[in-house]
Assembly symmetry: C2
Homo-oligomer: 341 residues x 2
């Protein structure tokens, strides 16, 4: 924990990775703390979120938004504390959430900040279950997948920030959740603590298609995909009639040196009359308040739990990010930057 300072540590994109990112792709610099202009707010980071989508922003390939440029601060969601405000909506000491990047201090347009009530929940949930990952789980599962009680719901990346919530939403909706992840500790957790009914360790399974078949005897009604690649191939081989698939992430593909080849699976869409949709949480932002209210209620009632994987220190954000890409996290991957004053 650093004390409030006149220096602003910033982690910039130094180069674009091919394959796995490493420390050399990032550049830690120290600059003066910026001054907020009219209507602007100066925010000091307390918590940083590291998320799979950031790997996409490091690349110049076409995606749903523009990449981070070389020399720019890395993008990322932050929960921070207002240091100085030139906008009536915020005062010093307020807690706020916004896309402020990998840095100690950021100046932000007040309209792009969300005020967080620290009495309602731990403030870091504003980038977790009560933030982007929670909104993603809620809308992608409930709206796109249209679960019905009795459905078998397979979740890849089941112990990640989004996956752990999806399995619990499945349980609340009377579905049977089957989690796929890459470690027995993670799978034990989602089964014992979160109420997933069955689990598959994709790293130790020697026949994923059979493992999915064994866990889903009447086929897969809903597939919530965070992962892609061979895990997704195995699920395709087990789709049920009228299966619904949401493509929420493809983390297995983000760090490949060159694009992977896989079986052509579209025939399974046809024979099962399945439906698949690509999902981006921004498209649902007008309805975030509804989701926040319902998820908060479920947390209070003890019906939804969540876990966090915390790394301490802004300077360790690249390390935390790469570890998350490699699946080292159980639950939401966070970097703790500073304590509130």
């Amino acid at each position: 924990m650093t004390q409030s300072s006149t220096r602003n540590r910033r982690i910039l994109l130094a180069s674009r990775p091919t394959g796995w990112p490493d420390a050399s792709n990032f550049n830690l610099v120290s600059e003066p703390v910026p001054e907020p202009g009219p209507k602007e707010v100066l925010v000091r980071a307390l918590w940083l979120s590291v998320d799979p989508y950031m790997r996409g922003r490091m690349s110049a390939a076409k995606s749903y938004t523009k990449p981070v440029e070389i020399g720019e601060v890395m993008t990322g969601g932050v929960v921070g504390q207002v240091v100085r405000s030139n906008h009536p909506a915020f005062k010093a000491g307020d807690i706020a959430e916004g896309s402020l990047g990998w840095q100690d201090y950021a100046v932000a347009d007040a309209a792009l900040l969300r005020k967080i009530d620290p009495n309602l929940a731990p403030i870091q949930t504003a980038v977790g279950i009560l933030g982007m990952p929670g909104m993603t789980a809620y809308f992608a599962f409930l709206e796109v997948c249209q679960p019905k009680a009795g459905d078998t719901v397979v979740v890849s990346g089941a112990a990640g920030a989004v996956g752990q919530i999806v399995g619990q939403l499945a349980r609340i909706n009377g579905c049977r959740a089957v989690g796929i992840a890459g470690g027995d500790d993670k799978l034990d957790y989602v089964k014992r603590e979160l109420g997933f009914e069955a689990t598959i360790n994709y790293k130790t399974s020697n026949d994923l298609t059979k493992a999915v078949a064994a866990a889903c005897r009447r086929g897969v009604d809903v597939y919530f995909d965070n992962v892609g690649g061979p895990v997704t191939d195995a699920v395709f081989n087990n789709l049920a009639f009228k299966a619904r698939i949401v493509i929420c992430g493809q983390i297995s593909q983000y760090n490949l040196d060159k694009p992977d080849l896989g079986p052509r699976n579209l025939r399974y869409m046809l024979i099962n009359r399945a439906r698949m949709e690509g999902f981006l949480v921004w498209d649902w932002r007008d309805r975030y308040p509804e989701a926040l209210k319902r998820i908060s209620g479920w947390i209070k009632e003890g019906r939804i739990k969540y876990s966090e994987h915390v790394t301490e220190g802004l300077e360790r954000t690249p390390e935390a990010f790469i570890a998350m890409l490699k699946g080292a996290n159980l639950g939401k991957a966070l970097v703790k930057v500073a304590e509130p004053q």
Copy 2:
């Protein structure tokens, strides 16, 4: 053309092909003409339909329905004439359509036959534009793809029985149709006669992704896929935001010795928030009358045309079927078996 006879030529499945089917997979036998039982109808085939789905029925792999067994008559849609009827809904001389298989004569449950009015349209359209291919084009395009005026609609297998109709439905709905097929004669036809605005010959293009990009400068809003494989990969590289994809067939994959590998494309679903659905026309059978009425109207008004590719003689059905799989047909592939009496 054979005269009415007491013998029934039947083409049975002799063996299951691996890869391309050939003549050895079929067995032509001659049996006595069957007798209709109570409530049954004896129908003599006049026209046989050969369609891509039949390749799936020759295989024991899991599909949306059970395969043809070895020694069973090959499945297929037939337009025929009633020879003898034990059901009040049909009388001798009536024209009927049903799934009667590759044979001169079949006994059918009257409930599974559709009576055809020969004064409304050429009777063979009951297995073409006013039958399964027409219903497929209508519901898969209008209901699943939800076209909007101004959309760019790419159709693979554009000169086939279904594809030729889809392009015209696109035009009628104010969309821009781009056809992909494997021959300049076919592409000239769909452009000149059917109103497709642009065409791509996938056999002669040396960069399909660039060819699709050039034909679809604002991306592909709707993709009607009859084909799969590299053609579909090229379209995925050019999807527009909120693209809609219907998987209606995957003919490029049906005759592979072993499953093909291709690029993993699900990332494009995500970044474009695209929607994909698998389609089977049976699911829409309750609404066939609506589609028949509207398509008939468009044909009468000259707004929809269709072409047929006719092979003469029941015994040549395997040859016609294999040629259709290889893309030799322009329009609906049919076998003419006999003239009505």
